[in-house]
């Protein structure tokens, strides 16, 4: 009940410790007392003076009875977005969103007018997922702008958004987007249920939300994609995936994500299918090299020397002559150095990228070889491993692979090639038992789905990709132009 506006104003002042940022402006229209309340950092003072004060002054000039004052103001005010509220909690809610509250004395309802200030940066190019071709706008920290960037690309009634507010103190706006008719209803329901279960102090940005949703997944590998490119999000939406946009965060969450999706980049939508297939095969190899190469090398050098050709073995033996550490310790030391270099490179305030750290590492490695601490072949192996982990855009994947790499190396140094096989079987068991929001993690491969295979390791030409993947959507026809071309 918002009748007694003085009581409400006093209550508000007490709750917010009479902070000076919240402005209370008293105004009289005729005999009715009006309070205009807004939150100065969040509201745009220009809009308030332009729209509200001027309209109110105009309304005050035309004599209106106090009973109909609310309707008249609601009708005549120049702000486009107007709502009425009737309780204290909604008042606080809208106040903290940058809206302006109009309290009328004696009236049960109050008016809420939209006057938000633009506190986000402008739309710029993406930093972490740049491509050579394709659109170069990226998400920013404002919820409405991000939604706008997506809606600009899917101009259809079927793009449905379910908004939610999460976080006890932060009250962050979170939106769940999906295309009606393409996405499966069960998936949307599952995700909504999960989101409703979350009760936490604050959602700072989307990565925090990602951790909360993924709580059921004890594995180190990611089951969501975080992206800052709107075209990736739009492609995912059209396939039947669900996207979550969180206010104050330039990264959108796309779910469900299976292992295959981490091998794709935005470039894949724009290149020729043959070139894209080759790139995918290269990435596939890079994944396995980054996972298995140090373990394979350790197993070859210390247990299975019979697998190396004789001349190469003599070379290795000559290089390792005089090196004091066993192969496993050497590999661990070098990996640790590379990881330290990589982490420090991220903190260095320049954007020269990872090439600086790799060059630095090689020079460090060269000096280490001269000093006799490591052998040259180990430097090559570790450098190749670290570089092979970099073609993937999802940092969680790269970080998750580290655990498996350590497991492989550990088992290889105890049991040789057999250890690598045992670790590989363990890796496959973990991958196949992982579920990403109900979808199996090795989707096009393990429960084999032929429509999924057409866009996995090798990408088929666009003519053959007419169908959506069955596990994502029941509405599988994607393209209809091919049928007309036959005539």
């Amino acid at each position: 009940m918002l009748d007694d506006i003085e009581k409400i104003v006093n209550r508000l002042k007490k709750d917010t410790n009479n902070i000076g940022d919240i402005v209370y402006r008293k105004k009289y229209i005729g005999k009715t007392k009006l309070y205009i309340i807004y939150n100065e950092p969040l509201a745009s003072s220009d809009k308030i003076s332009d729209f509200i004060i001027r309209s109110l002054t105009r309304i005050a000039d035309s004599k209106v009875s106090s009973k109909k004052l609310l309707q008249v103001i609601e009708n005549d005010i120049s702000n486009f977005k107007v709502t009425t509220i009737d309780n204290y909690e909604s008042l606080c809610f809208y106040l903290h969103r940058g809206f302006t509250i109009l309290l009328l004395d004696g009236d049960r309802e109050a008016l809420v007018l939209e006057t938000k200030a633009d506190l986000a940066r402008g739309i710029t190019t993406p930093d972490t997922e740049s491509t050579l071709r394709g659109s170069k706008d990226a998400f920013v920290e404002d919820y409405q702008k991000n939604i706008g960037l997506i809606k600009k690309r899917i101009r259809s009634n079927d793009l449905w958004i379910d908004p939610m507010v999460m976080g006890r103190y932060t009250n962050t706006q979170v939106g769940l987007l999906y295309v009606n008719g393409v996405a499966k209803k069960e998936l949307v329901e599952t995700i909504k249920k999960q989101l409703k279960k979350i009760d936490i102090d604050g959602i700072i940005n989307s990565e925090v939300l990602k951790n909360l949703i993924e709580k059921e997944n004890k594995n180190v590998l990611p089951t969501l994609i975080t992206t800052e490119r709107p075209d990736v999000v739009v492609n995912a939406l059209l396939e039947g995936k669900v996207v979550i946009i969180v206010d104050n965060s330039p990264y959108a969450l796309v779910m469900p994500a299976v292992l295959n999706d981490f091998f794709k980049t935005a470039e894949d939508y724009y290149g020729k299918w043959k070139n894209v297939s080759l790139t995918r095969v290269v990435k596939f190899f890079a994944f396995f090299i980054s996972l298995i190469l140090p373990a394979f090398y350790i197993a070859l050098i210390t247990y299975n020397q019979e697998m190396i050709p004789t001349e190469l073995l003599v070379n290795f033996a000559t290089q390792r002559d005089g090196v004091p550490f066993p192969a496993f310790v050497e590999a661990t030391i070098m990996l640790l150095c590379f990881e330290i270099l990589r982490e420090s490179d991220l903190r260095v305030p320049s954007f020269t990228g990872s090439s600086l750290s790799i060059v630095g590492a090689l020079i460090l490695g060269d000096a280490a070889v001269q000093a006799g601490i490591v052998s040259p072949i180990m430097i090559i192996v570790i450098a190749l491993t670290s570089i092979s982990a970099l073609p993937f855009t999802e940092p969680e994947l790269i970080n998750g692979l580290r655990w498996y790499r350590i497991l492989f190396m550990l088992l290889a140094s105890f049991l040789g090639m057999v250890g690598v096989v045992i670790a590989f079987i363990y890796f496959i068991i973990e991958l196949t038992s992982l579920n990403s929001f109900g979808k199996p993690y090795l989707m096009p491969y393990a429960p084999t789905s032929f429509t999924g295979l057409k866009n996995s390791l090798i990408k088929f030409p666009a003519k053959k990709l007419k169908e959506r993947r069955e596990y994502l959507s029941n509405n599988t026809i994607k393209q209809r132009i091919g049928e007309d071309e036959k005539n």
Binding site: M307, P440, Y445
Partner: protein, 363 residues
């Protein structure tokens, strides 16, 4: 979608069970009994295996929501069914023990000579427990991935061995008549084709599209027959019968001769991975079978652990060394397997009789 598996995964599990048990005992028994004509015994056994496939279809279609233990009980009544069930479980447990022994002995004798076999057995036992706790979905998907890798490695080995193949090694053909290949065919039938029946533990309801499973099973049966046939022909053709019968693991020794493009040499350890995968899957499927054939109330996460520990301990202490194992397997195990085959034939005959009775009742 809980506990639902694809027909493709189902068929690949069958294929893996058939091919993987060929390492060690399978090849050894066939070459010892049939000599140069081993490939003929494979063909004869495959033709006889069609009977197993047909009886499998009949048993599988009957009462699609029961697994094999329950089918025993429903056909034969509770006491007789339970006895038959436990008897078959005991023989299958022994199958698992011999597969585990095969695996650890192979690895210890060829790769890691000073490592005690129980250490390797422990690592694999851990993996088997892990797979079984996660359920049939994980097991079947893992099998599909591992089977694809096995097929690729097999193709590489065939391409590499092709230049070394000498047709003269396969002659003289049928020197002593058909008797010896027939004995070899019986061995092959009992060791390598009987595991098809193990798949009965998965009730038909667990399949996603149950009407398609026959097609996939027939295709994969032919594929596994081809794999075994090509394996035997290549081993004897490249090594010659005298070497093949004197080696302990001829199918591994033959891989040492692969030399593709003169620089891909010494890759026998990589190609042997296919047998490690296969034997691992054998053991884990045996554990799964036993877990799901015991009473429902015993079903907990502890049961696979117990069974795996039994298999692990058995494989360490039951056989003293490989010679005792070979001898026992060649002379006594065929009778055990024959008993198992007989049990399943009883089930098949029981189902046929019951169907006929039902027809008489309804008509």
């Amino acid at each position: 979608m809980k506990n639902k598996i694809n027909c493709l995964q189902f068929a690949s599990m069958m294929s893996m069970l058939l091919v993987a048990s060929f390492l060690g005992i399978g090849m050894f028994s066939v070459i010892k009994s049939a000599g140069v004509d081993s490939y003929i015994s494979i063909v004869i056994a495959a033709i006889a295996g069609i009977f197993i496939m047909l009886s499998f279809f009949v048993i599988y279609d009957y009462e699609p929501n029961l697994n094999v233990a329950e089918k025993f009980k429903s056909i034969f009544g509770k006491p007789l069914g339970t006895i038959l069930n436990y008897l078959s479980l005991a023989i299958i447990l022994f199958m698992g023990i011999s597969a585990m022994f095969n695996l650890t002995t192979f690895i210890t004798s060829q790769f890691l000579k000073s490592t005690p076999p129980y250490l390797i057995g422990l690592c694999f036992a851990f993996l088997v427990i892990l797979v079984n706790i996660k359920g049939i979905e994980t097991l079947s998907r893992t099998c599909l991935v591992l089977f694809t890798l096995c097929a690729i490695l097999f193709l590489i080995s065939i391409i590499g061995l092709f230049p070394e193949f000498d047709m003269a090694n396969l002659k003289p053909c049928l020197e002593y008549g058909l008797k010896r290949p027939l004995v070899g065919a019986v061995y092959n039938f009992l060791f390598n084709l009987l595991p098809i029946y193990l798949l009965l533990v998965i009730p038909k309801n667990s399949l996603v599209k149950p009407e398609k499973y026959r097609k996939y099973m027939c295709i994969f049966y032919i594929i596994s027959f081809l794999i075994k046939f090509v394996l035997v022909v290549t081993t004897i053709g490249v090594l010659g019968i005298h070497l093949a019968s004197i080696y302990q693991y001829p199918e591994y020794m033959v891989l040492k001769r692969i030399k593709i493009f003169t620089f891909i040499d010494r890759i026998e350890n990589v190609i042997t991975i296919q047998w490690l995968f296969g034997l691992f899957f054998n053991i884990s499927f045996v554990v799964y079978y036993i877990t799901h054939s015991l009473k429902q109330s015993h079903k907990s996460k502890l049961l696979p652990v117990i069974i795996t520990i039994i298999i692990f301990v058995g494989s360490n202490y039951l056989f003293k060394n490989n010679t005792a194992f070979n001898d026992f397997t060649y002379s006594k195990v065929p009778y055990m397997r024959a008993i198992l085959f007989f049990i399943y034939i009883l089930l098949f005959v029981g189902i046929l009789i019951k169907k006929r009775c039902n027809k008489k009742v309804t008509s």
